[in-house]
C-alpha cells in the first residue's frame, strides 16, 4: 500500500518543528555575534553572509540543476556597479538604488540565460565564463561611466546603517529572508523539475517539460539572488572596481559552494566562512596565503569531496542507522 503523502501537522511556513527550531537557534546565535566580536570581525561576518548568499545562488544551479556557472561573480558585480553608480553619480536614494542593482543583474542574467541554457557540462561552464568576461571587459573599458581601473567610490550605505554592527544586523535579516526564499525555491514543484533535468533531460522532455524554459527560469531566479548579494556588497564596501566582476569573484563563489557542499544550500555559508576566515587569518602570517588556500582545497577534495556540510550529513546519517 502506498500512503499518499500528507503534510505533517505542525508546520511553520513549510518547515517541520525541528528544522524551525534549528533555524531559529542559528538566527539568534548569529544575531548575538556582534556582542562578542571586534568591529573588524563584525565586518568579516558581514562579508561571510554576503558571499554566502552568492555561493547559495550558484548552488541553486550547480547542486540542483547540475549546471555550474562561472558567470555569477559578474552578475553579482553588475548589481554592485549599478548600486554604486546610482547613489554616487545619479543621486538615487539607497533603497531605490538597491532595487535597480538587483533588477539590472537579473536582466543581464536573463540575456546570459538565453544563450547558456542550451548547453550543459563543460560548455555551460565555458559559456558563462565567457559572458562574465564580457561584463568585466565593459567595466574595465567604459571609463566615463565605470571609472575604469580606478573603480568608483560612493557613500552608498544609508545613514541608519552606518555602524558596522547595525549594518551586520540588516544584512543578517536580509540573508535570513533570502535563505528562506531559496530554500522554498529548491523544494518547490519547480525546484523538483530542476533536479529532474539534472538526472535526465531526455526523460523530462518526453514527460512534457520544456527543458530550456525551466533552465532559463532557474538561471534568472538564481541570478536575482546573486544580484541581492551584489547590492549588499555595494553598501558593505562603498566602492566598486573591475575586480568585483572579475573571473576570480565567480571562482571564489564556486569554491565556497564546493567547500560547503554542492546541493546542500546552507553549506554555502559554511564554505564562505571557511574561506574568508582562512584568507584573513593566514594572510596575517604569510604573504603566500593563496598557496595555503589552494592546499586546503586539495585536502577538502581528497577527504570530503561532498563538502563540509555534506560530510557532516553523511556522518550523522551513518550514526542514525
Amino acid at each position: 500500500m502506498t500512503m499518499p503523502r500528507t503534510p505533517k501537522p505542525s508546520r511553520l511556513a513549510g518547515m517541520n518543528g525541528r528544522a524551525a527550531l534549528i533555524a531559529a537557534t542559528i538566527g539568534v546565535a548569529a544575531a548575538a555575534l556582534p556582542l562578542v566580536l571586534s568591529n573588524y570581525q563584525v565586518g568579516l561576518a558581514t562579508e561571510v553572509l554576503i558571499f554566502g548568499i552568492l555561493a547559495m545562488s550558484i548552488d541553486i544551479l550547480a547542486g540542483f540543476a547540475g549546471r555550474t556557472s562561472l558567470g555569477h561573480g559578474a552578475i553579482f558585480g553588475v548589481s554592485t556597479y549599478v548600486v554604486v553608480y546610482a547613489t554616487a553619480h545619479a543621486g538615487v536614494p539607497p533603497a531605490a538604488a538597491f532595487a535597480a542593482g538587483v533588477l539590472a543583474a537579473t536582466l543581464v542574467a536573463a540575456i546570459f540565460g538565453l544563450l547558456a541554457v542550451r548547453t550543459s557540462g563543460v560548455y555551460f561552464l565555458l559559456l558563462t565564463l565567457a559572458l562574465g568576461m564580457i561584463v568585466w571587459g565593459i567595466c574595465l573599458r567604459w571609463t566615463q561611466v565605470t571609472g575604469g581601473e580606478n573603480g568608483m567610490r560612493g557613500d552608498v550605505r544609508p545613514a541608519l546603517l552606518l555602524t558596522n554592527t547595525a549594518f551586520y544586523w540588516a544584512v543578517l535579516a536580509g540573508a535570513a529572508v533570502v535563505t528562506f526564499a531559496m530554500w522554498r525555491f529548491v523544494r518547490s514543484p519547480f525546484g523538483l523539475t530542476l533536479r529532474g533535468i539534472r538526472d535526465s533531460e531526455s526523460r523530462m522532455r518526453s514527460l512534457g517539460y520544456n527543458v530550456p524554459l525551466h533552465l532559463f527560469i532557474g538561471f534568472t531566479v538564481s541570478a536575482f539572488f546573486a544580484g541581492v548579494a551584489g547590492a549588499m556588497y555595494a553598501m558593505f564596501n562603498n566602492f566598486v572596481s573591475p575586480s568585483t566582476v572579475a573571473l576570480a569573484q565567480s571562482v571564489e563563489g564556486v569554491l565556497m559552494m564546493i567547500a560547503g557542499g554542492v546541493g546542500t544550500l546552507f553549506g554555502a555559508f559554511v564554505g564562505a566562512a571557511a574561506i574568508i576566515a582562512l584568507e584573513n587569518v593566514v594572510s596575517a602570517y604569510t604573504e603566500r596565503w593563496q598557496m595555503v588556500l589552494g592546499i586546503t582545497f586539495i585536502l577538502i577534495m581528497i577527504f570530503a569531496p561532498e563538502g563540509i556540510i555534506g560530510k557532516l550529513r553523511a556522518i550523522l546519517t551513518r550514526k542514525v542507522r
Binding site: M1, T2, P4, R5, T6, P7, G14, A181, R184, F185, R187, S188, P189, F190, G191, L192, T193, R195, G196, R198, D199, S200, S202, R203, M204, R205, S206, L207, G208, Y209, N210, V211, H214, I217, V221
Partner: protein, 251 residues
C-alpha cells in the same frame, strides 16, 4: 475498424547516408495494440524516436489524433497525449520513486511552474500516482531512491511513469529487455491489464511475448515495412521467418 490515431506517411529518418527508417507508411487505429518487430538494426527504435519526437523525420509526415506532429518537439507531443518508455532505462536515479512519479504527473500540469509552492502532492495527484504505481505493481517501493531499485523494478517504474498521465497513446520500447522469465511474464501481465482505451505501440524482440499481447503486428526489416499482419499470420509468415532465422538452405 475505428478511426486512425497515428498515421505515418512515407516517413524517412536519415543519418547522413544511412536511411535508418526508409519510407515507412503506417496507420494505427485508436485503441489498437500494435507490435513492431524485426531483427536488430531494422529501424524500430529510430521509428519510435521519430514518433516521440526525439529524432524528427528527415522527410514524410506524422499525424497524431488530428494534429500534424512532424516537426513538434518531444514535450509538445507529450502534451498531446503521447507517452513513452525507453529501451535503456531512463529514470531520475537520485530521486525517490515518489518524486519520479510527481515529475511524470506534473509534466502536463501548470503546477510545474510553482516557484515557491509546497512540494507535497494534492488530493488529485496522490490517488493518480498510487493508481499508476499499483498498475505497475511497484506501490510498495514508493519511498526508495531509484538507484537502489533492482533492474526489474526500474523497468516497472519505466511503465508507471508513462502511465500516470493517462496518455492517449503509449509507446513501449522493449519493456521487457534484460528481464528474467518471471519478470517478463509480470511485465506482460501489466501490459495486458492496461486500459483498453489506450492505444499501445510496442517494440519487442521476444516474438512470443509480443505476439501474445497485441492485435496486429508490423514487421520491419532494413528500415522498411516487410509485413503487416495479425499475430497468427505472422507466426506462419515465411518472410518473417527468413529475416529472423536466415534463408532456409535448399537441399
Amino acid at each position: 475498424m475505428s478511426e486512425p490515431i497515428l498515421t505515418l506517411t512515407d516517413a524517412v529518418v536519415a543519418f547522413d547516408a544511412l536511411r535508418a527508417v526508409d519510407g515507412v507508411s503506417l496507420t494505427v487505429p485508436r485503441g489498437q495494440r500494435r507490435a513492431i518487430i524485426g531483427p536488430n538494426g531494422a529501424g524500430k527504435t529510430t521509428l519510435f524516436n521519430a514518433i516521440a519526437g526525439m529524432v524528427p523525420p528527415s522527410s514524410g509526415r506524422i499525424m497524431f489524433d488530428g494534429h500534424d506532429i512532424t516537426k513538434l518537439p518531444p514535450h509538445r507531443r507529450a502534451q498531446l497525449g503521447i507517452s513513452r518508455t525507453f529501451q535503456i532505462t531512463n529514470l531520475f536515479p537520485t530521486l525517490s520513486v515518489q518524486d519520479n512519479m510527481v515529475l511524470a504527473l506534473r509534466g502536463l500540469s501548470p503546477r510545474k511552474f510553482s516557484l515557491f509552492g509546497r512540494p507535497d502532492t494534492d488530493s488529485v495527484e496522490a490517488p493518480r500516482i498510487a493508481a499508476a504505481l499499483g498498475a505497475a505493481r511497484i506501490a510498495k517501493r514508493a519511498d526508495v531512491t531509484v538507484k537502489e531499485l533492482s533492474y526489474g523494478e526500474q523497468r516497472q517504474l519505466e511503465i508507471a511513469l508513462s502511465l500516470v498521465t493517462t496518455p492517449t497513446m503509449l509507446l513501449l520500447d522493449e519493456p521487457a529487455a534484460g528481464l528474467s522469465p518471471s519478470e517478463r511474464s509480470m511485465v506482460a501481465e501489466i501490459i495486458r491489464s492496461l486500459d483498453r482505451d489506450i492505444t499501445v505501440v510496442l517494440i519487442e524482440h521476444d516474438m512470443d511475448l509480443a505476439l501474445g499481447l497485441v492485435d496486429f503486428v508490423t514487421c520491419m526489416f532494413e528500415g522498411r515495412i516487410l509485413v503487416e499482419e495479425a499475430p497468427e499470420g505472422i507466426r506462419r509468415n515465411h518472410k518473417v521467418q527468413e529475416v529472423y532465422l536466415g534463408k532456409p538452405r535448399h537441399a
